[in-house]
């Protein structure tokens, strides 16, 4: 059963088309990654889905409720948690005062559990919070009423790596508890750990929806290395190598390429060289877009 449905959504601000004819559904118990560069229309889509603004065209629903209609939306919102991108709270209020207000209005059965995991300084005023602490407060309020559906807009922005890890583990647990999670990100490595499926949005259009495994296989790794001596280009003439550049640097050779082939073959090719430096990292999302979707759009 689809818990979140977006059907032919278009949102225009005057002449500006923020989202165009976007159709997407998220199944119950799924963690869905909504991926796209900044300014692609992710936040617009999520805010429209939550009824903060009305669709120019198309329909949005959560848990079967039409969220563009307030009377229905309110039924949905009691069962939905939301963390906005860059969440903001009353600077003059303490974290505790804010959570008390939220608890009074939507419940807080998991408040203590959330505070065990993410612990903003509750008795201090939000004005004194670091970005990370504001984000923690945002995460706590999003989950404190044990919502069935959680919508997260760039949730790990502002969290340090250790907390990001904890957050990802937490999301995996939530999925195992049958919760449905839709979260947006512009970082591929972030969605790969926790998402089942990924929708990629660019310039307001949904470019593809696929399993996260498939997307990663297609996007490949960015490999950069420095090897001793004058190494010829054919040393890395492997299936799955693209965008290869080669440069001689005082007695060594620098290579950089995107690799989406068999890892064993890459290791063998690397093993044949005397390496001074080696960097293997996830291909930046922008590169993924350019290499796979660059021609289909714009």
């Amino acid at each position: 059963m689809a818990v979140i449905e977006i059907d032919g959504l278009t949102k225009r601000y005057g002449d500006l088309v923020a989202v165009e004819d976007l159709t997407l559904s998220v199944e119950m118990g799924e963690v869905f990654g909504f991926l796209g560069p900044n300014g692609a229309g992710k936040t617009t889509t999520l805010r429209t889905l939550l009824g903060f603004q009305s669709p120019t065209e198309g329909a949005v629903s959560v848990l079967g409720y039409d969220t563009a209609v307030e009377s229905e939306r309110l039924d949905a919102l009691t069962r939905v948690g939301y963390l906005p991108a860059n969440p903001q709270f009353d600077a003059g209020a303490t974290g505790r005062e804010i959570l008390d207000l939220h608890e009074a209005l939507k419940g807080g059965s998991r408040r203590d559990r959330m505070l065990d995991l993410f612990d903003p300084p509750l008795d201090r005023k939000v004005r004194e919070y670091s970005t990370g602490n504001v984000q923690k407060l945002g995460v706590v309020q999003a989950f404190m009423h044990d919502p069935e559906v959680v919508i997260l807009d760039e949730p790990t922005a502002g969290l340090d790596p250790l907390l990001q890890e904890r957050f990802n583990d937490f999301l995996a647990d939530e999925r195992d508890r049958g919760r449905t999670i839709l979260f947006s990100s512009h970082v591929l490595s972030e969605v790969r750990r926790v998402c089942d499926r990924v929708g990629v949005i660019r310039d307001g259009r949904l470019v593809t929806v696929e399993g996260v495994r498939d997307l990663l296989d297609r996007s490949g790794k960015l490999v950069r290395l420095r090897a001793d001596g004058d190494v010829p280009e054919r040393a890395f003439d492997l299936p799955g190598v693209t965008d290869l550049t080669r440069r001689n640097v005082d007695g060594a050779t620098d290579f950089s390429f995107t690799f989406a082939g068999d890892v064993d073959e890459l290791v063998d090719a690397l093993d044949a060289q005397s390496l001074r430096e080696l960097d293997v990292e996830e291909a930046p999302l922008e590169d993924v877009f350019l290499s796979f979707y660059g021609e289909t759009d714009a």
């Binding site: 601000y13 939550l50 307030e70 906005p84 207000l101 939220h102 209005l105 939507k106 309020q141």
Partner: protein, 262 residues
């Protein structure tokens, strides 16, 4: 119900206390001046020399009595103008500042109808308004007794009680600006301009052929001089202001529930 009101009111306690103290000091300052002013200056002659529009605007008719003096210095000036404009300004920040700062996203994700959000935010101003009225009323009444020019307690109570519909209407004007604008500074400027502008219009047209134009100004329906000097309580005016405040809040809620918040 009223969780948002309680939360908002708690956030405003300090400001309300500070305002109550400030206006009370202002009141005591004027009250303290009155005895020497009354014995050394012919106030009525001074008033007679002023343009009639000025006399009307500040209710100067009976400036030589403690009642007329307070009606002008405290209630026309500090209450009708300063407090009214201040409330319009405060109310103008209620939603526009949340929209501008992005706080509104978390608020709108709460299962609360937008109309209720608007109404509860507005009501959060009420405890502060009441507090300032009670404190300033009590201080002013006590002050007049200390200087030996006591004002009837019933008139002090009336001048404050009947000011409530006026003050809530000013706050309603601010609220209306707040739901329309997406930036607090714009809402606040519009609210202050509108509230003060309406007061000016009413003052300028009174006694002219265009007096009807002053009917849209809240200050038309609350006259501290009439209450304190003549003991005339304009209950119809208070009813009109109450209706206006209710209408402004309802219209603000109606509009905010339908607008795109972005």
């Amino acid at each position: 119900m009223l969780e948002l009101t309680a939360y908002g009111a708690r956030r405003r306690v300090k400001g309300a206390i500070a305002l109550a103290v400030a206006i009370s000091l202002f009141s005591l300052l004027y009250v303290g001046f009155f005895p020497s002013l009354a014995s050394n200056v012919d106030l009525q002659q001074y008033v007679d020399s002023l343009p009639s529009v000025f006399v009307e605007a500040f209710g100067l008719r009976a400036f030589g009595t403690i009642e007329g003096y307070l009606a002008t210095e405290l209630y026309h000036f500090a209450w009708v103008i300063l407090f009214g404009v201040y409330l319009a300004y405060s109310a103008a920040g209620l939603l526009a500042s949340d929209v501008e700062s992005g706080r509104i996203d978390v608020l709108l994700s709460l299962p609360v109808p937008r109309r209720r959000l608007v109404a509860e935010k507005y009501l959060a101003l009420a405890p502060g308004i009441l507090l300032v009225n009670v404190v300033v009323g009590a201080v002013t009444w006590a002050g007049t007794r200390v200087i030996g020019f006591p004002v009837a307690i019933s008139d002090v109570i009336a001048v404050h009680a009947l000011s409530l519909p006026y003050l809530f209407t000013c706050a309603g004007i601010g609220l209306a600006c707040s739901v329309v604008a997406s930036r607090a500074s714009i809402a606040q400027r519009a609210a202050m301009g509108l509230t003060f502008g309406l007061f000016l219009v009413e003052s300028l047209v009174t006694g002219t052929d265009y007096a009807w134009a002053g009917a849209i100004a809240p200050s038309r329906y609350y006259d501290p001089t009439a209450i304190l000097v003549d003991g005339q309580y304009d209950l119809a005016g208070a009813a009109i202001l109450t209706a206006a405040a209710v209408l402004l809040v309802a219209a603000s809620g109606y509009y905010f529930a339908r607008r795109d918040v972005n």
